[in-house]
Every structure is written in structure tokens, then in C-alpha cells.
Symmetry: C2
């Protein structure tokens, strides 16, 4: 068995993080906790082009601002922009995470991780993070709807 | 002269922080820097009722979420909700800050601080923080306008 240097476990979480809200922060906090004490949290922030290709429209906040805002959170050690052609396989190759945290609305990513770890015969823990509370403003699209109602009143 | 225990200089900044964006973070970072190395940054987040009374409408995000989100920023040591009847005088009495940071759109607060420090004959440094960049999305109202345009398209 190869001796591994004792190092911090690396947790990877990803998302768009458009209109940052408390649900995002709680998601990231729980993701980091999944890596145990002293884990390192690396967040991959989706590029505008990736979001456009996947959801049909560009985020409100541009990618560099979304990335910088996420990195300014206490819980985040590093935030990086995703690759233009984002794939969880490439993330695994590049970052070699110990844990990948998957949000309640990221089932697709979960399947991709399962497939990649099986193919590569590597061991990565996939942690599914629940939705936070049943509050009204825990998703960017709900926040946008509220803003639009606000303006049209 | 009374001997003061050597302690971290306390900087106070305040605001609504509705729809948190990078302009807010840069404002808080510069505010903290104004307190010198190892300063402590306390942020007063305006209550919904105060914003309603001053600006005529309630923020999109409720006060407890705005406060918690601000406190989750690396640069912030503590975020507290303001008093219902917010006045900079009471802030000065309660927190005894060394520095009060004032944003580009907070001229009212600057005058209040000047008046209070003069009356009480205390020495508080008032630091005016400039606007960040000439970017498009450095204010909550601009972000809201963009969202509304987005939806009505």
C-alpha cells in the first residue's frame, strides 16, 4: 500500500450560485462538514456558457462576479470557474476530491460521479445534501419571481 | 490619561445588503482595511421595518437571512440587526467603534456621525468608501432591474 501523506480531505461542490442566498451557504457548509474536521472545500462555479447551454439562459450575475462572491464566503477555501465543457469526470481527474457533494437539484451530477468512479475504479464519497428548510427564499428562481412581483406591483 | 488595554480596533459599517453582490463585499473589505491590521469588522444590518420606513418598501430578502448571509462572509467578524429606531448615536454608545465606514450612498449617516462625535466630544474616525468600479451590477436596484428585464423578455 502506498503511503499517503496525511493531508486535508478535499470536498468538491458545484453550482451556478446566481443571486447568492442563505440556501447556498447552508449547502456549502454541509458539504464541507461531510469531509470531516479540517476538510478543504473547493467550489466549482459554472461558467455563463455552460449555464446557457444547460438551462437555456445566462445567469443574472456574470461568472467572474459569481466566482468571487462564492470565494468571499468563510466556508469556501477556493472557488474556481468550471471548464467550458464541464464534466464531472474532468473535475475528478483535475482535483482528485475525496468527497463530492451533490445538491437536491443535482441528480444528474450524482449519476455522472457514480459512472466515473466505477469506470476509473476509484473511491470517491458522494454526499447528497438536502434542501434547506421550507423557507420561501431558498432558490434563485424564487427570489427572481419575488423581485418581479415587487416591480410589477 | 487612562490606560487603554491594547485591543483590536473596531470598525462599524452598516447597510441593507439586500441581494448580496460583490460591491457589498468590496465595501466591507475596504471598511475593515480602514481599521488597520487585525481590525474587527462589525456590520449592522438594517431591519425590514427601518428600510420600509426610510425607503418606502421592504427588502426582497428578510432581515434574518440578510444578517446571516453577511455574517457568512470572510471579511465580517460579526453581523447584528440594527435597532428598530436606528440611530448612529445609539450605535456609537453601544459598540464604541474606533472607525465608522460610510458608503458612497450614505451621506446622511456621515452627517449624523459628525454631529454625534462633536456633541459627545469623542474621537471616531469616519472613513468614506468609494463606489466600486463602473460595473453594471454593483447595486441591488440595478440587479433587480436586470432580473425584471430578463423575465419580461
Amino acid at each position: 500500500m502506498v503511503d499517503k501523506k496525511k493531508k486535508r480531505r478535499v470536498v468538491v461542490a458545484s453550482g451556478t450560485f446566481d443571486l447568492l442566498h442563505l440556501g447556498h451557504v447552508r449547502f456549502l457548509e454541509e458539504a464541507k462538514r461531510a469531509g470531516g474536521k479540517d476538510a478543504e472545500l473547493i467550489v466549482i462555479v459554472a461558467r455563463d456558457s455552460t449555464v446557457k447551454a444547460r438551462k437555456g439562459k445566462t445567469p443574472v450575475m456574470p461568472e467572474d462576479q459569481r466566482r468571487a462572491l462564492v470565494e468571499s464566503l468563510k466556508v469556501v477555501d477556493e472557488a474556481i470557474l468550471g471548464l467550458e465543457d464541464f464534466s464531472i469526470e474532468k473535475v475528478i481527474e483535475k482535483i482528485e476530491p475525496d468527497v463530492i457533494a451533490v445538491g437536491h437539484d443535482q441528480d444528474g451530477i450524482e449519476k455522472e460521479v457514480m459512472k466515473a468512479t466505477k469506470e476509473k475504479k476509484i473511491n470517491i464519497q458522494v454526499v447528497k445534501i438536502g434542501r434547506f428548510g421550507k423557507r420561501e427564499l431558498d432558490s434563485s428562481s424564487k427570489i427572481m419571481r419575488k423581485i418581479v412581483e415587487h416591480f410589477n406591483r
